[in-house]
């Protein structure tokens, strides 16, 4: 965020009347950043998340795993406001954000990458990335941040390519790049490495760790690739049938026979 920004020249569109993640990173990390309280989402007669109490601390990197259909994506969509909760509340930084519009939540520092890549297909990679960046950076700084974000997404050289022409994996990379470019306090990633090759997986794991450590961004990452999960997180939450099923250190969870039965399968 440009340090010249004052209250008056804040883009009425943009968010960012907030502390930066970097600022937070230097501060106390133990405070709860996000907290859900009895969160319920129903679709028709079907309950996708059932009374979920879930929390993430500032600067924490948490993975969310669980069987297909467990309600992981639903939970993230509730946090971003894409879905309206049927019941329960969401607190963020101590404020009740349950009834806020999605864009209002983003401006408080929550950012998300969708499970299915949804980049702006007809716009160039640069235009895609500039959109989040322009909210808080101008001129030379903006240019630098855009270039940086593209570089970090591994798409240097593709600046003028229309995003719709990137391969599936490249679009995933771009998505993460865009979500991270917002410099959020909490970044939600829904299956960030699905479809990526091994090299890219490692690059993204590295990227997430760096953002977390250097900028203090908190993460909720959904991923089915357990190796990947193990490489970035210490703590995981297992969701099952819409409920929190287990929570704990990754090694513990991996060896939990119940988790193996419902999720991991195979040889333990």
């Amino acid at each position: 965020m440009s340090d010249t920004e004052t209250e008056s020249d804040i883009d009425p569109l943009g968010p960012n009347v907030r502390q930066t993640a970097a600022e937070l990173a230097t501060g106390d990390r133990t405070e709860t950043l996000l907290q859900t309280d009895g969160l319920v989402k129903q679709f028709g007669g079907f309950t996708a998340t059932d009374d979920v109490d879930f929390s993430v601390a500032e600067g924490e990197l948490r993975c969310l795993i669980g069987p297909n259909g467990a309600g992981k994506s639903t939970l993230l969509n509730l946090i971003t406001g894409t879905y309206e909760a049927s019941d329960g509340s969401i607190y963020y930084n101590g404020h009740d954000i349950t009834d806020l519009e999605p864009h209002e939540r983003v401006s408080r520092g929550i950012s998300m990458k969708f499970q299915v890549p949804s980049v702006y297909g007809d716009l160039s990679v640069r235009e895609n990335v500039r959109l989040p960046v322009q909210q808080f950076a101008d001129g030379e700084e903006r240019r630098r941040l855009v270039a940086e974000a593209i570089g970090a997404a591994g798409l240097t050289g593709y600046e003028d390519v229309e995003a719709g022409q990137l391969s599936h994996g490249q679009q995933q990379q771009l998505e993460i790049g865009m979500a991270a470019a917002l410099e959020p306090d909490l970044l939600l990633l829904d299956e960030p490495v699905a479809g990526l090759d091994v090299g890219e997986r490692e690059a993204i794991a590295e990227r997430i760790r760096r953002l977390n450590e250097e900028k203090g961004i908190a993460f909720i990452v959904i991923e089915h690739d357990t190796d990947f999960v193990a490489s970035i997180a210490e703590e995981v939450t297992v969701l099952h049938n819409g409920e929190v099923f287990r929570e704990g250190a990754i090694a513990e969870i991996e060896s939990d026979p119940e988790v193996q039965r419902i999720y991991l399968g195979g040889e333990s």
């Binding site: 569109l13 968010p15 702006y120 716009l123």
Partner: protein
Amino acid sequence: MARNSANGEANRSLPGRLRSRFEGPNTIGESRGFWGGFAAAVAALAVYPAFGDSSQLSLFMVLALLGLSLSVVWGYSGVLSFGQVVFFGIGAYTFGVVSINFATPGGITAAVVAGIVGGGLSAAILGYFMFYGGVRDVYVTIITLVSTIVLHTFMAQTAGSEWAIGEAALGGFNGMPDIPLLTLGVGGLSYQFIYNPFPMRVIGIGAFEISPFYYLVLVLLVGTYLALRALVNSDYGRVMVAVREDEDRTEMFGYNVTRVKFVVFTLGGALAGLSGVLYAARNVYIDPTVFSLLFATLPVIWVSIGGRKSLLGAVVATLAIEYLRISMAGELALVLLGTLLLVTILVLPSGLVPWLHEQIVATRLGPGEAGGADTPDAPSEVSD
């Protein structure tokens, strides 16, 4: 091929910096050649009255403002409004009603403002009703279409003497024929723009009369075009384009998509209102045909044919299509016009002007290079 993203703007010349406000990935034409051509075209329009029927051209330019209003709303923000003529017509009728009731220079000037505000306000109301009510996509198109039809039906039956606002009878299908002549200013400091030919004598061309209205419209059109170019290449313009491309995604970047649509829609309404004011002023007349289905379809046609994502396209196509519509004569005129529209949209899906631009760029760069940078000396990163 000076790609000056690296050396930034610090060392750009002043005209370069000025130009950069009007340039960016959202508009075509950034080369020196383009701006030269643009200046030449404006100059040609300025001297045109010496040679041709400027009265008709002024009509087309008035309509081009209407075309631009749709280009911003739809082409750049993705809201396909079938109702630009609603705001156009409300602007025109408001101008008529106010100016008939206050037929002094000051009153007529206020009527112009009232017309623009009327267009903007009606768009704001309809926009609020739709966007804050969660209406999206094709439903917006149809609501605006239905609004057009409602007004058409309504205005067409205001023939009875009970339908009058002060001195001004709405007149139903007859329209309002008694609109005062457009005069801007107050009291002694005013100038009449309509039916006030300005005698000119130019050596080499001879004596002729020019219409001040024509120049008023020309200035407004060029000014509006440049202002909109600046808008769509600004940060706000980038957000408009993002909304067009994917509303949900844009919301997830923290933009208030609903408000962007609302604001742009209102702006488009005001611009359509201005166009309507000028239309009523030029014709000294307004009738409900401006709300007819045919007239409502025209802006969509101009903008599609010209190139939806091109402001210049909207202007060029409006002028061209309206010229054809008036001048084609004979039994086959409508058949030919229909064929022309049909073939153009099928063969040039991105529109006439973007296509022409591609051709020009391709020939200038020569084969092989065409795929590279869009135009010479285009800054690849334009921002403030």
